[in-house]
Point group: C2
Chain length 301, copies 2
């Protein structure tokens, strides 16, 4: 897919307000206005909604809830002792039914980190990640093919999150210590049966990061997504492998754009950001259009 | 220049801290901590340093200097009357020698706008733009050629700003009402003798925006730069035309990277941002490298 400056300039210009709405839906920072930084070992590692802060006040020996931040004070410098202290409070909240999302208990620990390469300062149950607004990292692959076409997947109807929605060709969460380029090859193989020799040609193209409150008002989603572009041979057809994706379809960029505008809820929300970023980077949107500056800024806030 | 994921991964990883320093040098938001929004007609259109705010207090009938912002109150809803009132205060500051930069009086008015497509709400003398921290818009063209090479210009020794520094193949400021794609073709012709038929192939690739205090502490530079990539035929050699550029040289991306790291002051500062953005978009930097996330976020703050 060669960059093409003059593709659909008319359509793209009229699409910009709708694309800006897609971005805002995923990155609405206004709902986070009253969220408090969650501090562990002197560094901010999360963001906590006021409703959660009220619940955490029950354990003043574990959390110091101030006006400006919530600090984990139990466990000293020990990651294990901190994690044990936090686990006790999270279990109590689950058992009391105070936080809806904790009903989706995963039995899986998640590393809470100040930045991508930092060592974890705390491990929490995965279902409690949004409660603390801990950072999550993922990778997303745009499957590009000739003549301005993209390979788009439809998520399996049995997926826990966003079943049946449209998605990029491959994507996945990064476990602690896993590199984005290793993860991309793994996800390409697992989700779309792309051979490693082809997947390894994926070119890194930056990242999309955002923070937003979830529907419950008790969770914060803070994601940092590494974006890759993968040019696929004309003869290659991706096929579902691990059941995460139901079908793949080759769509023209114009059709993708129309779908983002007319049926944004048909897409996994953060995938909208990844594709709008692609449209910007590859010149499918004209900077002459009213709202272009606001769109790019919103995307990269 | 095809994207190449695995170009110089070693060199690029070690370069990231130096590239981050380049970005910070151009976008240091810390120095703007005490700057006040400049409000005209109910909308923020600029940013004023405390030293300038103190000077503007001399005209309480023109500016309302509050704790949280500075508001233009003279002139009502009339752009002409506002502009006349502001001009009187700027002339007085120039004549008193209070603002060094006003000695570079241009005799040219600049449209102050809330956003790119908004109508100007005020016209100010161009030398006073940083005093009010008004937004400026420009376009930048990356001149790309085969085998990971870039055309780089050296600014004329007689340029008023950044003489002798390295620069992209073409760039320019946008006048009010001029579209980025029109401006790009004009600048390509004027600065590098690129025929319009080739210049028109420039592909928009997003934008770089930043705000920073100038050296005097009395000015704020708020720029929004539209970025274009232009793939040039192997046989094409740009030549200076209007005297803005002295010479052009084809440099390998690795050489450009080394130069940004070892001699960042040899480059026009905002051009460093444009080229780092190119390195990110085209996969010359690996997301596996420590500091990649911080670099991309700093670039797109």
């Amino acid at each position: 897919m060669a960059p093409s400056a003059n593709a659909f300039p008319q359509r793209a210009a009229s699409a910009i307000p709708a694309l800006l709405e897609c971005v805002h839906a995923c990155t609405d920072a206004a709902r986070l206005r009253d969220a408090l930084p969650f501090v562990v070992g002197g560094a901010q590692v999360g963001l906590v909604m006021p409703g959660v802060a009220r619940l955490l006040r029950r354990w003043p020996e574990v959390y110091r809830v101030g006006d400006g931040c919530i600090e984990l004070i139990a466990g000293g410098d020990s990651v294990q002792a901190r994690s044990d202290a936090v686990m006790e409070t999270v279990l109590a909240l689950r058992d009391a039914g105070d936080v809806e999302r904790l009903r989706g208990w995963r039995g899986e620990t998640w590393p809470v980190k100040a930045s991508f390469h930092a060592e974890p300062c705390l491990l929490v149950e995965r279902a409690a990640v949004p409660m603390f607004g801990a950072l999550a990292f993922g990778s997303f692959v745009n499957g590009l093919c000739a003549d301005d076409h993209l390979w788009i997947g439809r998520r399996s109807a049995s997926k826990q999150t966003y079943p049946g929605r449209l998605d990029v060709i491959a994507a996945g969460g990064l476990s602690h210590g896993e590199s984005p380029s290793t993860n991309v090859v793994k996800e390409c193989v697992e989700e779309a049966s792309i051979p490693p020799s082809i997947a390894a040609r994926a070119v890194p193209a930056g990242l999309i990061s955002y923070a937003t409150a979830d529907e419950s008002g008790l969770g914060v989603k803070r994601d940092c997504c590494f974006v890759f572009d993968l040019e696929l041979p004309a003869t290659f057809v991706p096929t579902p492998h691990d059941g995460e994706v139901e079908t793949f379809r080759k769509m023209h960029v114009g059709e993708v754009l129309d779908s983002l505008v007319s049926a944004p809820h048909g897409w996994k929300p953060n995938v909208c950001l990844v594709i709008i970023d692609l449209l910007v980077r590859r010149g499918y949107l004209s900077p002459d259009a009213d709202g272009y500056v606001e769109l790019v800024r919103a995307l990269r806030q």
